[in-house]
């Protein structure tokens, strides 16, 4: 076991491609009282960083349909999908089942798994050996145009 721990090294390289705008502080040579905010300058909020924890594994997907309305996913919403996350009970996942993509909540029970819609007009899907299922990625955020 100790060997395995040693093996899972992860190297982090500086991100050189995305542009980060650093605020320009103009207070440099003023003769008056320097701005007390100068020491507290921060670089603004970057939604790319906040909504996309692992950009290498993140994809954007557009939803057509209403089966997940009660989970806050409406028609034409954009999903932020992270493929690196492990599927877990209660997570909302993009699934590829029997030749088609869909979005559903994962429900695991002993020896059994369901894909649950969040709209009472739709039926849960019980996943059996007959089904061909790929859990494509885990939905982490929903982007809506209001």
């Amino acid at each position: 076991m100790s060997l395995k721990k040693e093996l899972s090294l992860t190297f982090f390289r500086p991100e050189l491609e995305s542009e980060l705008k650093i605020p320009y502080i103009k207070e440099g040579v003023s003769a008056g009282f320097p701005s007390p905010a100068t020491d507290f300058m921060e670089s603004g909020i970057d939604l790319n960083k906040e909504l996309c924890k692992n950009p290498l594994a993140t994809f954007y997907i557009k939803v057509n349909g209403n089966s997940m309305i009660n989970a806050g996913i409406n028609d034409k919403d954009i999903l932020v999908v992270d493929r690196s996350l492990e599927p877990q009970n209660n997570k909302i996942a993009v699934c590829f089942i029997d030749g088609e993509f869909t979005v559903k909540r994962i429900k695991t029970e002993e020896n059994c798994m369901y894909l649950l819609p969040e709209n009472k007009n739709y039926q849960p899907i019980k996943v059996t050996d007959e089904n061909e299922l790929i859990i494509w990625g885990i939905v982490t955020y929903v982007i809506k145009n209001l």
Binding site: L3, L7, T10, F11, L56, A57, K62, E100, F101, W136
Partner: protein, 424 residues
């Protein structure tokens, strides 16, 4: 220790990430302009689709065998390739991107105790994060890691897609198994010579009795390859080639062209695309080449390839200058060939130098206004997309990529083309 990581049937795999219904089904990818087959899934290989086959020749076969055809979607492949390479950088900082779907990795100075296991971790992370299957070959040298990768790929069910050459016994066995034409750097012509000289496998290549002959035929490159196959590392990771030495934009026409005005439009467009790439890598070129090709089967016994080059007194990356020069060369090439149908044209810029190392010329210099115009044009084209801002000599309706009848969306690089899924 080195590793070669190679994506399996990369273009076909990229398409399958967003269209998983084609996993396990035969898939082929066509070259730019839907000309010929450039990538095949294993299933398509098994059905006997040859690499490089012209699409029109196998159209019936593709239909009959129900093979899924895609036009090449380089924005998609480029983005997924980028992600794969960055994931690999999480396993070692020493990564040489060798091509769009291959990378050499080096692990010197790292304490990896079980390479097979490390390879499995690499393979499963790339598979999970981006959905691309890869094979990994580990060995003490780059040339041997290529050999190891081949074994991993060929015997995936037994190797789990990972093969490590870490003993003398494995090395010799691997070399005996590897045909000479499959050795890194042995092309078609060398293969013929090798076989005539009774070198049939990589192992034969390393035999002492062939050393003098290899030195004579291949020089220092051959000796390096021999050392590498013997397990003595002489090739390091190459630093990333940031700049290309020349940039070429050449295309076959979907319909052959004989009118000068039509040719001029194409040459202007190729110049614009070429020059845009030049500015993107912050280079200027000194020499411009224009080439024209006619159908050699149609006009037998005639010269079928025409080209002309001009070296400018100053280096430039202005679309205006380069397309003007290219068009004036086209005029010369066209003279005397009126009425002939051309099937292909190209613009090549070469003798590249850094934009900021450009020397000031005493007598002749480009109009400084060009720089500002180009900046504005690039800005607008990046913002609007699809190269909407063009020269007057270009046709506003035509694009430079003409036939793409089987193109999938640019799922990862265009917001209006992202994957759409039904939520029923």
């Amino acid at each position: 220790m080195y590793a070669l990581v190679d994506c399996n049937n990369f273009y076909a795999s990229c398409e399958r990430v967003f269209q998983p219904q084609f996993i396990g089904k035969p898939v082929v990818i066509l070259s730019n302009n839907d000309g010929c087959v450039i990538s095949r899934s294993n299933e398509a290989k098994d059905l006997g689709i040859p690499m490089g086959a012209p699409e029109f020749k196998i159209r019936e076969l593709l239909k009959e065998k129900n093979i899924k055809v895609f036009s090449s979607n380089y924005p998609l492949y480029g983005d997924l390739s980028n992600r794969v390479m960055k994931i690999l950088e999480g396993f070692t900082p020493n990564v040489e991107i060798y091509s769009i779907d291959e990378a050499f990795l080096n692990f010197d100075g790292m304490s990896v105790s079980d390479y097979h296991n490390y390879g499995i971790q690499m393979k499963s992370r790339v598979q999970k994060w981006v959905g691309i299957p890869v094979c990994v070959g580990f060995a003490p040298t780059k040339a041997l890691s290529k050999v190891a990768n081949r074994i991993a790929k060929k015997f995936q069910d037994r190797t789990q897609g990972i093969y490590v050459i870490d003993t003398e016994e494995k090395r010799i066995k691997a070399l005996k198994w590897t045909k000479i034409e499959d050795v890194w750097g042995i092309g078609f012509r060398l293969r013929k010579k090798m076989i005539a000289h009774n070198i049939l496998t990589a192992y034969d290549f390393t035999k002492p009795q062939h050393e003098a002959w290899i030195r004579k035929e291949m020089g220092v490159i051959g000796m390096r390859l021999k050392y590498e196959l013997e397990g003595k590392s002489v090739l390091d990771l190459e630093p990333i080639r940031e700049q290309k030495k020349s940039i070429a934009t050449t295309r076959s026409f979907p319909k052959q062209i004989s009118e000068f005005d039509d040719l001029r439009e194409r040459v202007a467009t190729f110049s614009a695309v070429c020059t845009e790439k030049l500015r993107k890598q912050k280079s200027c070129c000194q020499t411009i080449i224009v080439m024209l090709v006619i159908d050699k089967h149609k006009y037998e016994s005639q010269k079928y390839y025409f080209n002309k080059a001009v070296t400018l007194p100053y280096a430039t990356n202005s679309t205006l200058t380069i397309s003007n020069v290219a068009i004036s060369m086209l005029k010369d090439l066209y003279k005397g060939n009126e009425g002939i149908k051309f099937k292909k044209a190209g613009v090549i810029v070469t003798e590249l130098i850094d934009e900021d190392k450009k020397q000031l010329q005493l007598f002749e210099e480009e109009n400084p206004k060009h720089l500002a115009i180009m900046k504005a044009m690039d800005f607008l084209n990046t913002k609007i997309g699809d190269r909407k801002v063009k020269l007057g000599t270009q046709n506003l309706g035509l694009t430079w990529n003409m036939n793409q009848n089987h193109l999938s969306p640019r799922f990862t690089t265009r917001f209006n083309e992202i994957l759409e899924i039904k939520c029923h």
